[in-house]
């Protein structure tokens, strides 16, 4: 039977998902009065209704997430359940109820009340009635920054080149007869903040779940079984990030500053798990890691500090789900279940402390109080040294091997220019050592190995490093990327040749990296810009230039990538070069997402 919510709470948690459920329980255990507002009908979010149960490698989850996960495992092992999804919903809900949390399902957050820069409460819709409650701290665990957007927090949006996010899934749940779990594939891109694009994309990609024969089992995403239901969560991996008091960036991680961050309240151990295949539109440092060194599967410890949860300039509100204060690149790591649970726990404890102190200001809570309550924060900063701290002998051995990633990255991190040049000079042309040394030098901005890089591109070097368990990048186009990184103007004809080669293996990767390389050279060498612009204009205006994107598990779903055409159009606009690229794109068969981008491209001419 229904119990009416109170009018005042210490903490209101918006979103009862992977982070929010843990946040609510953590705050409740601290003795705070807690209200949860959930738009759906259950706890756990992506980790239950979205079918993604795992913690994605690394050590088992720790803290409250670990404790609850152990209860879920025990309940499943006791029998009667085919997998964790339903058990997770139930146990999270029971744990929250046990500590007095009020839960309101099927609610819609409509307004966030504030006095100046202090959040004071929430208004929400429930059964078509507007309700409201006051609070000392509002935890926005909506993932889509619903409360932060309503209150007017500053936001960060996607990657720098085009503002787009990681791909999404359109989630379906499947059973193998014993167990049910989510099918984790790629359905392309979506804009979850544009109602027309969002709705049309969801409807278009529902076609991925139209089967010829629903009565038959099949193998999807490497698992035998059959679909049992669509999820009522769309399977979105990334959206806005909130501009918080501090934002953790890829520079922090890879330029050496992260280890110096004061007072981490959580560490997350995972990889930069991008589903992006249009890698040349990502940041250069991200491509250095992914393409230059093929490090996709390498797990790292990412520190999170309290300030990553506090929206800049606001009091009484925390961002505690995948929209927390990290950049687009790092967002691809910390969005996982383990990190989200831990961040939820931090938010719940921090909010309870701030509320119980009466001020609701999470930044003035003594950090030692917070850390004491969180008990087991493992300090694993040193483990990243195993990735980029190889001794010089191991670097050389690694460069000679078919798993050169750690050695390339260690050489880059330690700036081993002298050693790399010496090894490069001594090694035979075409050898692993010489080619990988050239790649490491390029990551350091050193041109000593450009001849070898060019030769690798000319040969279409098909060596595939084995550094990652999958998603490694062929050395041929990795070297093409690195030549672009060096803004190597002498490779201009080579880049043109690659783009004229329509029969090239891995055309998508070679062509997109060549486009990116030309843009970089054009930006760095104004005397070459006109020739490059003319080549790119003709290429992008030619409807026959087709880039077939490969998406995980949805190869049969046609996806002709138009993003590079649109990227060329944007660059030519900056360079003052008239073009018809927008019209060319709009004349092609487009999905809702790309049509909206093309229309925007035309509108901003």
């Amino acid at each position: 039977m229904d119990k009416k919510p109170k009018s005042d709470y210490d903490v209101i948690v918006l979103g009862f998902g992977t982070a929010g459920a843990i946040a609510a329980i953590a705050a409740g255990r601290m003795g705070a009065s807690v209200l949860v507002l959930e738009q759906n009908t259950y706890a756990g979010g992506t980790q239950s209704g979205g079918g993604i149960t795992g913690f994605y490698g690394g050590p088992p989850p720790y803290g409250l997430t670990g404790e609850i996960n152990a209860k879920i495992k025990a309940a499943v092992e006791a029998g009667g359940y085919g997998g964790e999804l339903e058990v997770r919903k139930w146990i999270l809900e029971e744990e929250a109820l046990r500590v007095g949390v009020d839960i309101r399902y099927e609610t819609t957050c409509y307004d966030v009340q504030r006095e100046g820069r202090r959040v004071t409460g929430v208004r929400w819709g429930e059964s078509r009635v507007l309700c409201e409650a006051q609070c000392r701290v509002l935890i926005d665990s909506s993932a889509e920054a619903v409360a932060c957007r309503l209150v007017g927090c500053e936001l960060l949006s996607g990657r720098a080149t085009d503002g787009l996010y990681n791909t999404f899934t359109n989630t379906c749940l499947a059973s193998n007869g014993n167990r049910v779990a989510g099918l984790n594939f790629d359905a392309g891109r979506i804009n979850q903040y544009d109602p027309e694009v969002f709705s049309q994309t969801m409807l278009e990609t529902a076609a991925l779940h139209v089967l010829e024969d629903y009565s038959a089992d099949s193998t999807t995403c490497g698992r035998a079984g059959h679909r049992v239901a669509l999820s009522d969560l769309p399977g979105i991996r990334e959206g806005f990030h909130v501009l918080t008091e501090e934002v953790l960036t890829i520079d922090d991680m890879f330029m050496g500053d992260a280890a110096q961050l004061p007072d981490p309240v959580a560490y997350v151990f995972t990889n930069l798990d991008t589903h992006t295949n249009d890698m040349p539109l990502e940041s250069e440092l991200f491509q250095d890691w992914m393409v230059g060194a093929s490090m996709w599967g390498t797990q790292l410890w990412f520190p999170v500090i309290r300030e990553n949860l506090v929206p800049k300039g606001w009091i009484g509100i925390l961002a505690a789900a995948r929209h927390l204060g990290v950049d687009h690149d790092i967002g691809q790591a910390v969005r996982m279940n383990g990190p989200m649970g831990r961040i939820g726990e931090v938010a719940g404890v921090l909010a309870a402390l701030a509320a119980q102190a009466g001020h609701g200001d999470c930044l003035v809570v003594p950090i030692e109080n917070l850390k004491r309550r969180l008990e087991d924060i493992p300090d694993r900063r040193g483990e990243n040294e195993a990735v980029w701290g190889l001794p010089v002998e191991a670097i050389r051995a690694g460069l000679e091997s078919d798993r050169p990633g750690f050695a390339i990255w260690s050489a880059r991190h330690q700036r081993r220019v002298a050693e790399l040049r010496a090894w490069y000079a001594d090694a035979a042309p075409g050898s692993h050592l010489r080619r990988h040394a050239a790649m490491a030098l390029a990551l350091l901005g050193d041109r000593a190995g450009v001849d070898e890089l060019r030769q690798a591109v000319i040969e279409r070097d098909a060596f595939l490093p084995l550094t990652s368990r999958h998603s490694n990048h062929l050395r041929g186009y990795a070297c093409l990327y690195l030549l672009g990184r060096l803004r190597d103007v002498e490779s201009l004809e080579l880049f043109f040749d690659v783009l004229k080669d329509d029969a090239i293996q891995n055309k998508y990767e070679y062509h997109t990296h060549a486009v990116a390389a030309l843009i970089k050279v054009g930006e760095a060498h104004s005397d070459k810009r006109a020739a490059i612009a003319e080549f790119l204009r003709m290429l992008a205006e030619d409807p026959a230039w087709e880039l077939r994107a490969r998406l995980k598990e949805t190869q049969s779903y046609p996806r002709i990538d138009q993003l590079f055409r649109l990227r060329i159009a944007a660059v030519l606009r900056q360079w003052g070069v008239p073009n018809q690229i927008g019209q060319v794109v709009l004349a092609m068969p487009l999905n809702a997402h790309d049509r909206a981008l093309a229309e925007k491209c035309l509108a901003t001419r």
């Binding site: 819609t108 089967l211 239901a229």
Partner: protein, 233 residues
């Protein structure tokens, strides 16, 4: 404020049928799934032998059969309901806004929260196709177990085979007033005490919407919409 000739609340089977009948309609749906009244409830439908009156509902019935989502014994694959309804709606170019919730209704104005934030929609006519509350409702689960269990009541639960051998839609009756916490707790507690013959059964999922039993199957709901059922506000 955006203005529309007509708004239908609910892109469920009734709402989609109604919108196809009316034309020039904006449909707003709180979830991101079409046909939530069946697709998210695990209501696999019954009385499939009753032919729909409307040809367009019959077309959807044919789609279910063509895609082997419905067999001659009335066994169904609920997983087919939403994707095939999406295909049915796209063919008719229905204007559907997903993840858009009505927060309040004031005359001809709707306060809604969409993916782009809060906004006001105004329409000449507003139709409410959301399922109506009744004194009783069902929380339906999907369970796996030994193949060959016959349809029917077993303890507190009513079993119905799906299209897949050894997979069952399992109904538990609730009061119309029960909230999710109470209904879920009841389901799990009774599942723990299920009859001995069900010991080897495993609960896979529960529906994420209650089945309010407004229509016997999705085709009947679609047909009702196409015939003009659905409350005009």
């Amino acid at each position: 404020m955006k203005e529309f000739d007509r708004i239908v609340i609910g892109a469920n089977f009734l709402g989609c049928g109604l919108a196809a009948r009316l034309g020039r309609v904006k449909i707003i749906e709180p979830s991101c799934v079409l046909g939530a009244d069946f697709a998210l409830t695990f209501n696999s439908g019954e009385a499939w032998d009753v032919a729909p009156e409307h040809l367009e509902a019959a077309e959807y019935l044919s789609m279910l059969r063509e895609h082997r989502a419905l067999d001659d014994d009335g066994r169904t694959a609920v997983a087919a309901f939403a994707p095939l309804l999406a295909a049915w709606c796209r063919k008719r170019e229905l204007d559907i806004e997903l993840s858009c919730s009505v927060v309040a209704i004031e005359g001809q104005e709707l306060r809604v929260m969409g993916v782009d934030g809060r906004k006001i929609y105004r329409a000449g006519e507003i139709y409410d196709a959301m399922p109506k509350t009744k004194p009783r409702k069902f929380l339906i689960g999907l369970a796996a177990g030994p193949a060959g269990l016959e349809d029917g009541r077993r303890g507190d639960f009513v079993f119905r085979q799906s299209l897949h051998p050894g997979e069952y839609y399992v109904k538990l009756e609730c009061s119309g007033e029960d909230g999710w916490e109470f209904a879920r707790r009841t389901w799990h507690q009774r599942w723990a005490r299920r009859p001995e013959e069900l010991r080897d059964c495993r609960l896979l999922l529960l529906g994420t919407r209650f089945d309010l039993c407004n229509y016997p199957n999705p085709v009947a709901a679609l047909d009702a919409g196409l015939r003009g059922e659905g409350g005009k506000l």
